[in-house]
Amino acid sequence: MMQAIYLDNAATTALAPAVLSAMQTQLEKCYANPASTHGPGRNAAQVVAQARTQVANLIQARPEEIVWTSGATEANNLAIKGVADFHHRQQRKPGHIITARTEHKAVIDPVRDLESRGWRVTWLNVDAGGRIDVPALAQVLTHDTALISVMHVNNEIGVIQDISAIARLARENDITLHVDAAQSLGKLPIDVDALGVDLLSMSAHKLHGPKGVGALYVRQRPKARLLAQIQGGGHEQGLRSGTLAPHQIVGFAAACTLAGSDMAEEQGRIATLRNDLWGKLKTLPGLIRNGNGEKTVAGILNISVEGVDGEALLAAVTGGEQALAVSSGSACSAARAESSYVLRALGRTPELAGASLRLSLGRFSTQADVDIAADKISWEVNRLRALSPLWEVSSKMQAAS
């Protein structure tokens, strides 16, 4: 069915076999509503409680600090709008939020929604490598800053932000810190206390768990204060209502346990593959690696290619023999073929931002995948350049200069 060489693990991942079998057991045998008080309902509740502990363990949190959601997007919405609503109710007016231009749409869009409701927003710039300048962040704090929302790892370029430093600033100024950890969960060790975050969004399907489930970590001490965004029955300590889906939750938990069991080895293996891929690709002229190469999560390589059209590049590598499944810019905005705002924030021209590929590796990526991908990309880039009336000229000009 899936014949393509799959290098789009930052968009979503295949279920790990252990995850699927945990889910299948629930789907086949355990179907009661965990909120029901009868026997089957209590069994389902027990399964959910066990899963809560497993997910909490991966981030060194307590089980009661985990709020199940339908995914990281909902977790981000709950964190951002929930904190804002609480602040608004306390202060009887909107306040100020700080976030970065390179955040995922699932952060940008709820923040924009607040902006339309009277909140002031500081959109932080990033450096050429994609990192936030922490001293610059300190400059924009105000007396009514209610929230700082920063992603742990960027979904397009894989750059890792200095969360601890940002957390120190937030703590000193009594500001709630939310971190979107959709791309870092299971890939970087996370200790919510050591990092100093108040709220942390998680997604299952980025670490070989199922789609449609995620969680928000909500710090108990000192208590992060936020208001529910989906009401109706008071599930999840009143923070998120709706019938829980035990099969999804169990799948998420199994994925967390698996990721926690071999994180160092597995991320080391993936980093080696990624470095090999870059090593092979960079022999092509006119290739630029996007993002800070050093402070980058193991699984992501983002490149811009000079001298080719973005749409043609993506069509070329994702079609034909040995098609690759890769993304151009962010998968989530890919339905509209616009050039990546993340890459433009790094200073890339719209053309180079458009002519970019994100290659993201996961647990099931192999050396063969890397070899095929490197060959395919090199071949297609050379072919498109040969076809272009502009490339010969510009490469001659470069050679001359």
Partner: protein, 123 residues
């Protein structure tokens, strides 16, 4: 991204790539901002196109349009050439409305070629 079979095939494996020598006529067209560039090269014998080839920088539809045009041009009399119009190209390639500009690009490149004679280098 889903392309018509015509576009998919021609983009992946164009039949008329490059700047095939000798060249008697050549014409180039660009979209505003040079997001797409198409150049046609024609070899003329006895008032007929003996050989056509193209170079393109742009999306798959743009490359396919260049290729399709070369196929259409090959063997035709010069006097017939200006009957080629954008509508023909649109329907042949099943172009999406958002891609109509590539058909206009072919029209423009061809019009420019007809007025742009290249002096053959002596052999």
């Amino acid at each position: 991204m889903i392309y018509s079979n015509q576009i998919e095939t021609r983009f992946r494996n164009p039949g008329y790539p490059g700047a095939a020598q000798p060249i008697d006529l050549t014409g180039r067209a660009e979209t505003p901002g040079s997001a797409a560039v198409l150049q046609l090269y024609l070899q003329i014998e006895n008032g007929r196109v003996m050989r056509a080839s193209f170079q393109a920088f742009g999306c798959p539809a743009c490359i396919a349009a260049g290729d399709w045009a070369c196929e259409w041009l090959t063997g035709r009399k010069l006097v017939q050439i200006n009957t080629l119009n954008a509508t023909q190209i649109e329907s042949a390639l099943e172009l999406a409305p958002a891609k109509r500009h590539v058909a206009l690009l072919v029209e423009d490149a061809l019009a420019n070629a007809l007025t742009n004679t290249v002096t053959r280098n002596p052999p």
